[in-house]
Every structure is written in C-alpha cells, then in structure tokens.
Amino acid sequence: MELGRVLALAKKDLKKTIRETGALFMTLLFPLVMALAFGVAFRGIGSGEVSGLDIGVVSLEDPQDPWAIKFVEVIEATKVLWVKGYDSNETAQRDLSQGRLSAVIVIPGDFGEGCDSYSAFPSEPSLWMNTSIRLYLDSGSMMAAYTIPPTVNNALSVTIHGELPQAVPSPIHVESPSLVEARNLSSFDYMAPGLFPFAAIFLTMIVAQSFVYERQTGLLRRILVTPTTSAEFMLAQVLSNMVVALAQVALVFVGAFLVGYRPYVDPSVMAFSFLIVSTFSLCCIGFGLITATIAKSEGVATGISFLFIMPQMLLGTFVPMGGTQLGRIAAQLMPSHYVTDALTSLLLRGAPVTSPAILLDAVVVSIFGVVVLLVGILLFGRYGKS
C-alpha cells in the first residue's frame, strides 16, 4: 500500500468537489442552503412560545374532591393563569422543560382532607391535616417568577378562607417554587438531527456519477495501467468522501446555528456526530459503487442512485414518513434511521454519548457501513470496471 498514491487520488477527488459546480453544490452548498432554508422556515413553528401564562395542574386528589375543583376554578378565575390539566407530573414537567408551560402546580392527594380539617376546626391548628402544594416555575421567565407564586397563594387563600389572604394560619401552604430550565423547541429542533444524514445521503449520487464518468472517459482504465492497486483506489475514495461528509456535518451545524439552532453540544457530542455521519458515508459510498456497477451512463447513475436515496431520505431522516407500522418496520432497514435516532437523542434530548441506545445505533450504522461498502467494492471490482 503506497500512501502517496492514496493521498494523490483523494486530493484529486476533493479538487473535483471544490472545482466542479455540480459536485460543489450537491455536496457542500446544498446542505448549507438546506439547513438555512429549513431553519428559517420551521424555526418559528411549534416553538412553544408562552402566550399569557399557561400553567399545568397535576391533581393527585380525587377528581371529585370539591376543594380541589374549587382551587382550580379560582385559579382560572384570575384570568392571569390559564390552566391545563395533566394526568402525570412527568408529562407536565416535560412540557415545562420544553417551554410549553410557565409553571406546574401539583395538588397533593390530601388537599381535600386539609381543607376539611380547617373548615371543621378553624381555630384549632393542632387538629388540622397539614399538607403542601408543589410549584415548579420556568426559570427563564421573570414574568412567571413574579406573577405565579403570589397568584397561586391568593387562589389558595380564596379557596380555603373565601377571601384574599389574611394574616391567619392555614393547613395548606405553597412550597418554595422549584426552578426548571425551559427550552423552547421548534419544529426545526426536531428536524435538525435528520439534516445530517440527509446531506450525506447525496454522496451516493456523487460517487456513482464520479465512477461512471471515470469509466466512460477512460480515466479508470488509465489508472488501472499504473501500479495503483484496487485497495489504494478504493481507500482514496473512502477518504475523500469521508472528508466531504465531515465538511457536510460542519456546514449543517453552522447553517443551523445561524438560524438559531442551539442543541446540547459539547466536544464529545460534536466528535460523535462527525464520527457517526462519516461512518454513514461508507454506506453511501457503497451504494454509489453498486449504482455505478449497474449504470452505463451518468444520467442513468443519477436515476438509479435515487433508488437508494429516496428510501433513506423518507424513512430515515427528518421527513416524517415512518409513522405507519409498515413505515416503522421499513425504517429499521435504513442506516440513515439509526444516524438520525442517535443524533436526536444527543442533540435534542441531551443524552450522553455513552447511552446504550446511542452506542447501539452507532454499532448498527458501522455494520451497515462496512457491509454495504464491501458489497459495493466487490460488485464494482467484478462487474463495474469495464
């Protein structure tokens, strides 16, 4: 293996990417333009921006309990807080963390008992059933921090005493609010992880066109009469296309960042993103080689490459086509699906790189990459050179 040959061929391929307008657009400009365009188009949709002050109420009390019902009605009557009922604290917390709510109130299971005990013995605190209401606030909203705790306290006082708070004790109090950091997620935040494999998918077409072009013009034969081995030639292809894939990841990050995308990113996440997309690029090179084996002209190569591109795109990136049962099953066969899945967990949910689910995705993508690339190399070596 002569490294100089590999580097010379890889350099040649990278020069093609930079100097040929079509290749430059498809591999580098297209992902950047796409990230910018999608970001601008979808950044504002579903962003969960708070309109007024939405609060989630999780009642652990009996749904028929008159005190709990009254408490919620009093809150609603303020016209300041708009109540959304939740069955579980977990669901409410998720909406709070994603900026769909300004606060979450958890009514305890003994709320009614506490109110009853006060009602029966208003002047005998020793007979009261003491309990507390938990309150979670969006830490990023000053309006919520200033408005919600006193409003909830007032509503509690009105519920128990029938009037605004007096300097009288009560069996129920509102806990100091817990502050929850909220992220306002837009549609683009959900789409962005799928943009990374989406950009790399088009390497299939570029590789197929490139191989067919070299074969048609006699350049491949020309290389074959030099001492260059098949391994050196293929390694150069892999190297240059992995560099392109890395550039695509960087460009998608930059493009998305410019339109306000702020995922959970630390150096390990960045490194993993580059690694999994470049591993995925092996699949794309493999599919490109398979396409080049079948195709007799560049035009045919373009057409056939879409047989590989479209399913990957529709079932494995941001395009929401995997919603049906059949779609979900088919998506399992798409390497791009595992890339998107891993990047969604990392960038959207902030999962650590070492999560078993993410590592499993990486393993599956690696297996796909190696197998598809080997099949591509074997087929092209056997049937595609002439």
């Binding site: 002569e2 580097l7 040649k12 100097r19 034969r221 020309r222 009469v225 030099t226 001492p227």
Partner: protein, 248 residues
C-alpha cells in the same frame, strides 16, 4: 543478441462471437520503436490492452519486460507508460496537476516529478498553459497533455495508441520529435497508428495487422521493397486490396 522487450505468442482474443486478435505472434527488441499499423478495428488497441494487463487473452501469452502479463501484471505496470487512444484527462485539474497525479500514481519522488513535468510540458509546448484547467484546453492541447501524463514517470516501455490523431501538423511534429527522443533515450516504444507517413518517419520496424492477424512485418524499407510499393499505404493496398483508412 538484442534483448527482447515484448514477446507475443499465438495471441487470441475473442469477444463473444467476434475474434479481435487471431493468432498474433510478435517480438519487439529493447530500445526498438515498433509500429503497429492497421485500419480501425484491426485489433491494434486490443493488442495494446492485453499488453497493459487491461484485458485477459483468450489464448496465447504476452510477455512484457520479462514478465508474463497475465501472471505478473503488477510488475508489468511498473515498467510501462500508456498514452491511450481516447484522450483521458481530468478536466477539473490543471494540465500540471493531471501530469503530477499520474507521476504520483507511479510513485515518482516529488522533486524529480516536478522537474520531469516541467521538462515535458515545455517540450510539448504546454508550459504557458500548465496551470489552466485541462477542461479549457483545445483538442490538440488535450492530446498533448494526454501523452505527457502517460510518460511523466519515464517508463522503460511506452505504448502510444494513435497519439497524433486529430492533431494539427505543428503539434504532430512536436510529438514525433518527442517520440524520437524516447527512442534516443533507449526506451522501447510501441506506436499504433493508421498514418502511414508517421510509421515511415518514425518506426524501426512495423507490423501490419488486419482482422486481428499479422499480415506483414519488417522495416518500412523492406516492406516497400518486398511489395514493390512507393510507400506503406501502397503496401497495405497490395496486401489487402483496400486503403488503410477505409477500415477493416
């Protein structure tokens, strides 16, 4: 006794029901400039492709530089330089980059590659345009760079497959001079052409191929004398009953 550079024995190549080469036997000496003449479709390029290791012969054997091509193709590729019939250059690379790429593929050391590229580009009249992308070259310039790409690594044996097709007289003259320099440097050159005057001007010996068979072999002077012809074109007419450019 002269050393043999190329030995072809009973070579046959069939493509399904077409026989492109039919029992060709030939020996080329080291340092010889050998012309392979014949009309289009006679089997010249197929012969070159077998000698380069691009095609497997159906029967027979070919030995280049002492290595049997079908058994030791990698050793053969280290000795040869090929200028293909159809111009094959990367249009997005400059002329110099095209030349240096093929030098790199032959593992020519960087410094001597630069020197050799400069020398050849100068000889072929391409020095001024060396840093322009080859896609913007004229047809003649592309053919000249095509030749330089095949010879930048200073090969012992050069296969030049119709290197002057479509060239203007001035470019053709430059290529002829260059080919003669190769011979003067002791290189073995196999030149395929259907320009009879080119073969007469350049070649030590010529082999005339028709329908995949060797129908005449000798120096241009011997062939003309043997067939009582004034030039090689007439030799071909005497042998086949038609002009060489009428095709096979």
């Amino acid at each position: 006794m002269a050393e043999t550079a190329i030995l072809i024995e009973n070579l046959v190549k069939r493509f399904e029901d077409v026989t492109a080469i039919d029992g060709l036997s030939l020996e080329v000496e080291k340092g010889e400039l050998f012309g392979l003449l014949g009309p289009n479709g006679a089997g010249k390029t197929t012969t070159i492709n077998i000698l380069c290791g691009l095609l497997e012969p159906t029967e027979g054997r070919a030995v280049v530089g002492g290595f049997e091509v079908s058994k030791e193709p990698e050793s053969v590729k280290g000795l040869i330089g090929v200028c293909p019939q159809d111009t094959a250059v990367y249009p997005f690379l400059t002329g110099r980059e095209n030349v240096e790429l093929f030098g790199d593929l032959h593992a020519v050391p960087r410094e001597s590659l630069r020197r050799k590229a400069d020398e050849l580009l100068e000889k072929m009249g391409l020095a001024e345009d060396a840093n322009r992308q080859a896609g913007k070259y004229s047809g003649g310039m592309r053919r000249r760079i095509n030749l330089v790409m095949g010879l930048v690594h200073d090969p012992e044996i050069a296969f030049l497959d119709e290197p002057t097709v479509g060239m203007d007289p001035q470019s053709r003259r430059a290529v002829w001079d260059f080919i003669l320099e190769l011979k003067a440097a002791g290189k073995t050159v196999i030149l395929t052409t259907h320009y009879m005057e080119e073969a007469e001007e350049l070649c030590d010996r010529v082999g005339v191929i028709d329908h995949g068979r060797l129908i005449a072999l000798g120096t241009p002077a011997e062939l003309k004398e043997r067939h009582g012809a004034v030039d090689l074109e007439e030799v071909f007419i005497r042998l086949t009953g038609r002009r060489i450019r009428e095709g096979a």
